[in-house]
Amino acid sequence: MGFFVAQLLTGLANAAALFLVASGLSLIFGVTRIVNFAHGSLYMLGAYFGITLMNILPGAFGFWGSIVLSGLIVGLIGVIIEMFVLRPVYRAPELFQLVATFGVILVIQDLALLIWGAEDQLGPRAPGLKSVVRILGEPVPQYDLALIAITPFILLGLWWLIAKTRIGILVRAATQDREMVGALGVNQSWLFTGVFFLGSALAGLGGAIQLPKGGADLLMDLNIISAVFVVVVIGGMGSIPGAFVASVLISVLNVFGVSYIPQSTLVLMYVVMAVVLLIRPYGLFGREEKAGEHGQVGEPDRPIRPAGLVGRSFVAVLLIGLAAVPFLFSNFSQVLITDIIIACLFAASLQFILSTGGLVSFGHAAYFGGGAYAAALLVSYTETPMELAFLFAPLAAGLLAIVFGWFCIRLSGVYFAMLTLAFSQLIWSLVFQWYDLTGGDDGLVNIWPSEWLSGTTTYYYFTLIVGVGGIILLRHLNHAPLGYTLRATRDSARQAEATGINVNVVQWTAFAVAGALAGLAGGLFVFSKGSIFPNELEIGKSFDALIVVFLGGVKTLSGGVVGAAFMETIKDWLTRLEYWRLILGLVIIGVVIIAPDGIVGSLRKVSEKIGLRRTEEFMK
C-alpha cells in the first residue's frame, strides 16, 4: 500500500513539468494553429537558464526567483522566434511552419552547446525542501510534494486567464476565427505574440521547475517533445484541462510501468495514445478539426506532367553517368552514391504521400527501419537467404503501413501527423526495449548480402537498379489513376468523395505503397551496411526525410530526390564543422521564409524567368 501511494505521488510530481510544457504547446497550437516542434528546446533552455541563475542567486528566494526568471527569459525567446521565424510563414501551409520550427530546434541545440558546453549539468536542490517525508513508511521527497501542491494552482491560474479575462476571451475567439477577430479591431499579431510568450514561458518554467529532480542536458529537448506530443494529443490539442489530465495519466502510467513492466515503459505511452485516438480521434477534451477552416491557403499546385524531352534526356545522361561511376571512381565514391540513392528512394516515398497525397507523415522512419529490421531479423534468426529476406523488407514495411495506415488515414492534418509519429515511436520503442529479440541499442549485425552481391561495385549496381526503379515507379504512379485520385483527395476530400472516389481506400493504398517503398530503401540500407540500429527508426530520421523533401521542393515531383541527393552529398562535409546544426538550422529557416519553393521549385521559377522553360498554361 505504502509503495503504491509513494509511486502515485512520484507520478503526480513528474506530471508537473510535463503539464507546464504541454499546456504551453497546447495554448500556442490552439491560437496560432502552429505545432511548435521547438517547444522541447524552450524547455531545455528553461533548465539551463534555471541552473545558471540558481548558481548566482542565493537562498530559497533565489531558487524560486530563478524559476520564474527562467520562465520570463524563455518567454522572451519565444517572442523572438514568433516574430522573426513564424510571422513570415503564418499564411503558408502547415508543413512550412513545422519545418521552420525544426530549424529552430537545430539552432537552439548548437547555441546551448556553445553557451553551456556538452557536459550534463546536475540540478541544484531546492533550499528547505531537501529531505524526504515518510508516507505510510515510504520515503517521498519534499520537493515532490511541493510540486504536487503547486501544479493545481498553475492550472487554476491558466484556467482563470483563459476563461475570465478579456485576453482569454480574445484568445478563444481567435482560436475559432482569426480574421473576424481582426475585423473587430483586435490586433492579432500582438495576440499571437502574447500567446507565444505565455506558451514559451510555461515551457521555460517546466524546464526550471524540474531541475531538483533532474538537471539539464542537450538531449532533453527531443526527449521531452515526444512525451509532450503524446500528452497534448491525448488531452486534445488546444485544451488546457486536457493537457493536465493527460500529463497526470502519462506520468503515473510511466512510474508504475517502470516498477511493474520495466521493458515496456516507452511502448506503454504510445499504446495509450493510440487507444485514446481510436476511441476519441480528437483527444479526450479536443474539438474536431475542420480542414481549411483557418484560411491557410498557399499558391495552388501546378498541374503535373510527365517529364519532357529535355528532362528525360537529362535523366538518361545522369543514369549513364551513374552507371559509369565504378569505372571512373574509387570504392568510396560508390559507397557514398549507394547511400545517396537509398536516401533518394526513402525521400521519394515520403514525397509521394506528402506532396501528392497531402498527408504529412511524421513517422516515415518506421517503414524504412521497419523494413530493414524485418530483413535483418529474418537473416539473424531463421538464416533466410538474403534474396528472400531482401524481398521481405518492402513486404513487411508495406504490411506495417497497411496496419498503421488503417488508423492514421481516418484522421487529418495535425492529428494524422501525430498519430503517424506515435506509431513510429511505438516501433522504435519496441525495437529499443525488446533487447532479447532486437539487441536493443546494440542493433543487429552481420547482415550481409549473398556472395554474388557482396562486392562494393556489384552492390552499387544492385542499389542503382532497385533504387532508381523504385523512384521511377513512384513517379509513374503520380501519372497513374492512383496518383490522380490521390491528388483529388488532397485538394478536396469532400468533392473527391462526391465524385465517387473512395477517399479512405485511395489514401490507405498510397500510404501502404509509400511504406513499402520506404521499406525497400530500408532493405537496401541494411545489406549495404551489414547492420541496423534503432536510430534508423528515431524521430530524427523521420524529420530528416521531411526536411529533405522540403528543401528539394514540396510542390514538385522530383523535390524529394533532388533534396536527398543534395543533403547526402553535403552531409559528410557539413557534419565535420563544429556547429553544423546551427548552420543547417539557419539555412532551413532561411529557405522556409525566402525560398519556400525549395531547390527544384526555385530552379523552375528562375528558368521560367529567363525564358528557358515555358510558363505553365494556367499561370497566364
Binding site: 478579456r166 476571451i169 480574445l170 478563444r172 475567439a173 482560436t175 475559432q176 476565427d177 480574421e179 473576424m180 477577430v181 481582426g182 475585423a183 473587430l184 479591431g185 483586435v186 490586433n187 492579432q188 474539438r287 495552388p300
Partner: protein, 233 residues
Amino acid sequence: MLEISGLNSFYGKAHILSDLEFSIDRGEVVALLGRNGAGKTTTMKSIMQIVRPRTGSITFEGTQIAGLPSHKVAQKGIGYVPEERRIFSDLTILENLEVGRQAPRNDTPTWTTDALFEIFPNLYERRHNRGKAMSGGEQQMLTIARTLMGNPKLLLLDEPSEGIAPVIVEQMAKTILRLKREGLTVIISEQNLHFAGIVADRAVIIESGEKKFDGSFGELEKHPEIRDAYLSV
C-alpha cells in the same frame, strides 16, 4: 465620409471588382444592390481590407485606409457585419460582445451591453448561452450587436435579411432605421429590393464588379429597365 475610387480586387486570378467608384456621406444609408456574385461582399471585404484591393483608393474621413491591416480599419471606426455572421460559437453571447468592444469615440454613439440588450431583448435572455445554440435570426442580431460594441461611425452590413424569418427581417429594418436616427452611416448590401427601399436613402447597383447605377430609389423606380437588367433574376 467614405470615398472609393478606382478599386480593383481579385480572388486569385479572378477579377472581382473593376474600377469601382462610389462615396457615402455622414449619416447616409446606402444600399449596395446586385445579383449573387456581382461583387457586393467583395466590396465590403475590400473596405475592411480582408480582401486586399490590388489598386485603388479608399479614404475614410480623409485618410487613406487601403493597405492598412483589418484591425486598424476597424479601429478607425468602420464596423463590419459579415454575411456568414461568423459568431464565435464556443463563446457565450456576453463574451462575443466583449470581443467587439472598443473604446468610446467622440462623434458617434457609445454602445454598452445594456443598451444593446434593450434593442435585442432576445440576446439578454440568452446572454450566458454559447453562440452555437442560437437561431439564424438571433445570430444575426448578435453579429450586429457585437460590431456595435466597437462604437463604429460607419457600419457595413452584408445581406442582413438573408436567411432569417420575415418577422425578424421587419425587426431588422426597424433596428437599422434606429441606428440611422442615432447618426450612424450605413452601407447595406442587399438582394431584397423591398427591404433596401425601406431602410436606405440611395441605391448603388453593381454588376460584375462594375457600378451600373448610383441614385435615389425614386430615380430607380423611374427606370425599371435598370432594375430588370441588373436586379431581377
